[in-house]
Symmetry: C2
Subunit: 554 residues, 2 copies
């Protein structure tokens, strides 16, 4: 590396691609994110590799598809030894630092098998998905056995918000007229302010921790990739004042759903429509109660990012720092008769993605919008590329976005994007009677068409040009057999080519091709395959000698 470089990798949780000012939301105010888009490229076809937190993030942090890293659902550990962005950056002397959420669950059995002590330096690296956990806050800390207490709890207590679980009781609850606690998990309370004042709520706290890290890193001197990973606007849908009151019923966009979607839905789609959360969001009044809070949470993030960007300016870091703003998946919020995110409609599988490359080479693309098909697994190779690391296509299944950001001519960009979902841990498996290993959904999309292949069932198919709201499932339309076949062929081509040979690079394999062309390289190892006698062997050795002589400098 010739110049100082850093990466600020900002991720929201459950933020829809269309809930930003810059992506066209008519009411939501996100001036700082909008301004960021003016400084970089906004990718409008950015897809996550799975539509729930854990597997989506594991793909982003490893640069590999879900079927490659194998952490197919929330809470399923990432196997020990699965290479992460942190491993690749470590090799080139870059710190990979976490402030916020990863949803990583360590593979304790795998670590035990390998004798790795969880709280050793390497144990922490493995347990934290390759991140140096400056501040780990997975954001969900309800009463129960869910997650260990975050440092944020201690912070709240230190500020006088005392409780066994201040995250639950202060940051994610409201207060009733008689001082009673009203849980922020319950949708009916989404219109009330959280009990904690804005400055002590999670988003500002996490932002300050990021700023503290950046300050400390100046003295340290090593380049860094900082993953600033907000839990919000994810559940619980509750936000402190004044954000709880910034938006109202009039600011809620009309729901995007059609009665046609309930008439003959695909069996898996039908099951998710039956889920409690989907039924809740389909009832009158629920969206109107929840969405203003969702929007408030986003505006709060935007305000905090304003402070963070100002700090980068102040410290003179803006010109050295590649900034990414994105999310791990969207949120149905009642669209398509669904809540949560487990299917592959655009509102779930597409995410906002803004990338600001500070290099002068990227000046020509600033403020532009790119419709290129991007996958979230492109981020890890992008960061590696930005820091000057060598590409690792035998491990990283995504591609660096830098050439796109720099307006370079890019050959053979992908024609299809893929996303996967494993419903083995959903009730849908039980209802449909699907065997556990078959609970595989695979989305294949080309920008115009989107197919979802469902092991054991017919596929779904949507025409995004003629049916941008994805109301009409053409999965069994006779007129569309050809399109389905083409997307199925793309799926097959993809499935045939997993990157599992992670211990030897393509480069290393091709490194001695010149020699291999000139003579049988096996003779160097003494493994002599196919030689009749000493004469034949001597001839081959002579070829080798001539080759080596030809390469010696004069």
């Amino acid at each position: 590396m010739t110049t100082k470089r850093n990466v600020l990798f900002i991720m929201c949780d459950q933020l829809r691609y269309d809930y930003l000012g810059v992506s066209g939301h008519p009411r939501l105010k996100t001036p700082n994110i909008d301004a960021l888009a003016q400084r970089g490229v906004r990718f409008v076809n950015a897809y996550v590799q799975s539509t729930i937190c854990g597997p989506s993030r594991m793909s982003t942090y490893t640069g590999r598809y879900v079927r490659s890293h194998g952490s197919t659902w929330n809470g399923i550990p990432l196997r020990v030894g699965e290479p992460t962005l942190g491993d690749h950056l470590k090799e080139i002397g870059v710190r990979n630092v976490l402030v916020g959420k990863t949803h990583m669950v360590p593979d304790r059995e795998g670590m035990a098998r390998l004798g790795i002590v969880p709280d050793s330096l390497i144990g922490v690296h493995v347990s934290q998905c390759g991140f140096e956990p400056y501040e780990r806050d997975d954001g969900l800390h309800p009463d129960g056995p869910y997650d260990p207490a975050p440092d944020y709890d201690a912070y709240l207590r230190s500020q006088g918000f005392d409780a066994d679980n201040p995250w639950e009781v202060w940051a994610n609850s409201a207060e009733g007229g008689d001082g009673e606690l009203l849980s922020g998990w319950l949708l009916s309370h989404a219109d009330k302010p959280a009990r904690v004042p804005d400055e002590h709520s999670e988003t500002p706290y996490i932002t300050r921790r990021a700023i503290e890290f950046i300050g400390e890193a100046e003295a340290d001197g090593r380049p860094w990739c900082l993953h600033l990973s907000y839990i919000k606007p994810h559940w619980p849908y509750i936000v402190p004042a004044p954000y709880h009151d910034r938006y109202g019923v009039d600011d809620v966009l009309p729901v995007v759903r059609s009665d046609r979607e309930r008439q003959h839905p695909h069996p898996i789609f039908a099951e998710f429509q039956h889920e409690r959360v989907s039924q809740a969001f389909s009832r009158p009044g629920v969206r109107e109660r929840v969405i203003p809070a969702y929007m408030g949470l986003i505006e709060q993030i935007d305000d905090q990012l304003g402070l963070l960007f100002a700090y980068l300016d102040e410290r003179g870091l803006t010109d050295d720092t590649l900034i990414v703003f994105t999310s791990d998946h969207g949120d149905y919020l009642g669209d398509h008769w669904l809540g949560e995110k487990q299917m592959f409609h655009d509102v779930s599988v597409k995410v906002p993605l803004i990338v600001v490359d500070p290099s002068p080479a990227a000046d020509a693309t600033r403020g532009t919008v790119s419709e290129v098909l991007v996958e979230q697994i492109d981020l890890a190779p992008t960061f590696l590329d930005y820091f000057g690391g060598r590409p690792k296509p035998h491990i990283l299944e995504g591609r660096s976005l830098l050439p796109l950001l720099r307006g370079e001519r890019v050959e053979n960009w992908r024609s299809y994007v893929f996303s996967e979902y494993d419903y083995a841990l959903d009730r849908a498996r039980i209802k449909l009677g699907t065997p556990v290993p078959d609970c595989r959904l695979t989305m294949v999309a080309d920008g115009r068409w989107k197919a979802v292949f469902v092991e054991g069932f017919r596929p779904m198919l949507f025409d995004l040009d003629n049916d941008p709201h994805e109301f009409d499932d053409l999965g069994d339309s006779e007129d569309h057999a050809e399109v389905r076949q083409r997307l199925s062929d793309a799926f097959f081509a993809w499935a045939r080519r997993p990157r599992s040979r992670i211990t030897r690079s393509d480069e290393a394999i091709a490194a001695k091709d010149d020699a291999q062309r000139a003579y049988d390289r096996n003779i160097e190892s003494g493994v002599l395959i196919g030689y009749w006698d000493e004469t034949e062997l001597a001839e081959e050795r002579a070829k080798r000698a001539r080759y080596l002589a030809s390469r010696r400098p004069e």
Copy 2:
């Protein structure tokens, strides 16, 4: 486990399925192996998962397809953390012990990343593919940087066979009339005896080491799985007296090849026909020189197995020991205009497989022949099953053979077998200009038809019923489009279902289905998704309470 049980897992290297008396070779004498077949089941459709040593063995030792474990070629390390048979047996207190060859190459980079010291207990376990290396002898120790010196070298020296490399100079060389060394690597010397006497050659040495282990294991008392892994009849094709003289030109079977195979061969087949070793074996006189040595090496193994089986009898172990006899792949020996083994004709991809289950339950199948489609990845689950371990279908992609051995009714046995070969490290890649990640060959066979899918080229197809010698490639025959499609569909179905979620078992995923049917299990963790208010939540909590009450004993 209620009774004492052991497994003796014998593997030869490069032994063709048809080079045994019991499999119909008219000249070759293998009475001990033939007798073994009388005590168990001989599987005549047993396929390896790759046609060269390294990946084939990594599949056998992990119970996983090559595309899953990723060690696609000789010398490509098995990634650290890839679970092995040894890991599964360790969990249930069974020693997994090696005497002989594995071809394992440790993932030193991966170990370093995880802070695993290679010569620590765990480092050795990882480096030895999950085996306790009682005697590691990878069998190839030519002069050169190939392999570290085996203990067998020290043994030879101790017996007076002194040299820098006694493996090369004594065990794998002959002597000329003037006392000059004649390398056993060179095919022209295959008719001469190795310099070392039979008793000190590799096969008897390794057999004695196995016997020593078995003797020591009696005192130890723990059950064991002993992998007795002969390097022979693999290259170098040289054998000590009297075996060098047991077979002659008259014992060599006619070559199996057709001029049709040279007329319009598939490009990848053509490239392997052009290889030096293929050209050598296609020249007159070469097979006649080499094959008698190959047969002598097999007879020597058979004699040694006679001693070993007698020892098991003597120690009273025969009734407790499941015995497997197999190989890691075959050898073309000039058939199909090829040498070595890189394609998928039966002589390469099929291996001998005899399994003797000593349990009374298996009495009914003794001496029978099974035509069931077996893959070498079935061995690891078979051993686990024999020792009473729980099945692990989320990791092990093969299936236990025990039900077949015990004549039980088996539902849904596989209809297709798969084998893979990565030619990225062959000259064929350079000649054909194939990109490194695309050098994938995948064989799909159903017992009657065999297709080989070649990324970037048309497939090959053989009709084993009407063309048992596999001379006629129907890969572009218009009449066979339907068969090719069916095999391609099977390939796709297989490619869609890799077992990569290795950190959570299918069983664990389905463990709480009853509860999940009765109420929303999320409420236990405090993550409350989709509840409008306290009433709804209380209703769900009541459902849970009723469920728990219903399960309480009266």
